[in-house]
Symmetry: C2
Subunit: 276 residues, 2 copies
Amino acid sequence: MPKQHSTEQYQQLRTVSAVALRSCVRTAGYQGHTAGLACGCLQANIIILPESHALDFMRFCQRNPKPCPLVGVSETGDPILHTLGEDIDIRTDVPVYNVYRQGSLSESVTDIKKLWQQDHVAFAMGCSFTFEDALTKAGISVWHIEHNKTVPMYRSSIMTRSAGPFGGEMVVTMRAIDKNRVDEAIAISKQYPLAHGGPVHIGDSAAIGLHDLSSPEWGDSPPPVGDKVPVFWACGVTPQNALMRAKLPLFLSHKPGHMLVTDIDDQAEVPMYSAP
Amino acid sequence: MPKQHSTEQYQQLRTVSAVALRSCVRTAGYQGHTAGLACGCLQANIIILPESHALDFMRFCQRNPKPCPLVGVSETGDPILHTLGEDIDIRTDVPVYNVYRQGSLSESVTDIKKLWQQDHVAFAMGCSFTFEDALTKAGISVWHIEHNKTVPMYRSSIMTRSAGPFGGEMVVTMRAIDKNRVDEAIAISKQYPLAHGGPVHIGDSAAIGLHDLSSPEWGDSPPPVGDKVPVFWACGVTPQNALMRAKLPLFLSHKPGHMLVTDIDDQAEVPMYSAP
């Protein structure tokens, strides 16, 4: 069972580099969420599955680049993500992992050294922290950030484009945006194609199958939208949903919010690390 | 041997849609280049290889998104590119194909119905026509377009990030740009990550191993740069170079300049076709 961290511990980590943060995760047992940590560094959603499903999964990502913006893929059986930073070992450097068996969440663990297999391939996908940071810097208020909550996530009626056994509904996040800032929020997020890009839907939530925004499937329940406009972005939980539907015997992911922190500049046009 | 077309035939084609153009290619024997045709539609570089190498090739594309911006990938053995347009059959809809055997160009053919195998996977990658169009619209003069020539291409000393057997030098294109328009050319091309994005090098060509710009490896020899600045972009011939080095027994590609014309809007954030 991952342990809880005090607010003080979290605040201390806010000033450390991505390398130092991963070291805390790997050897000092940090098991908390990574929102607001190693600012300016790209954080990534993680999926790990056997090579026999890797080509179909990459096709799924190519066809659904908004929910699944690939930023790194390991060699088969090699747990080091050479293109994303200095000595990133995907077996130990994520704060908490989810283990799925036969399509269901089985357990959460803090390393996967015993679960990593010689035929495993690790996939890293960009995450919304990048564009949320940009929204915040532009002075666009986002409720869940201001209240230290998790963004609400919903299974929408927007269907992904399938590839092999992978398909199903797109999971979306919702942020209620001031009416007069919506265009700006769209423009800012479009600048980050590796962090889900522009929204997938704006306004009327029923049009994408969502009838009660107060009950998200994951994350925290938001207050009523009121005068604001609900804006929906593709979510990195979509691939977990697709893999659960496919009922693979075993796949691994990060625990939502507990991301891999990379050494890639989150403004980089191309996510590619070279040793100094 | 592909046939030559008259300027008149080419001019007639400039007004037809992408669907009609592909029909001309498939059934009326058009075998010419596709520059300037079906304006506004995304055109694509094509690579076809066996599934046994497909995962490594996708990893190569993920690690080298500037030369290899994937815009579509077929299912294994299915020659229809469902996500790129209406009834695109990759065996017949490219004007001219190059056939490579043991890493060398073996022949050029106008359809690959007899060469297509049940284990083949087709990959489509964006091409520079998209950003060249945008440069032209902005009034930035590009020599090879104004003179109806092919852009000069060079094997640079910039190394790609390897994946499995695929690696080697990045092939680049060169466009000499007026000094006072360089920043604008960079900004415009950066808007098209699916069409090679921003330049990979600006100025001093010796710094990327090019000592004689008048002798490109492919394409037409440009005039001296003079007062202009040589600007280098990643080129879609890079994957052909990587595959030749890997000496695959058989792989297929489009003939440079003779691209697949898709139904995707070349301004689209995500290259995804849905039947109307």
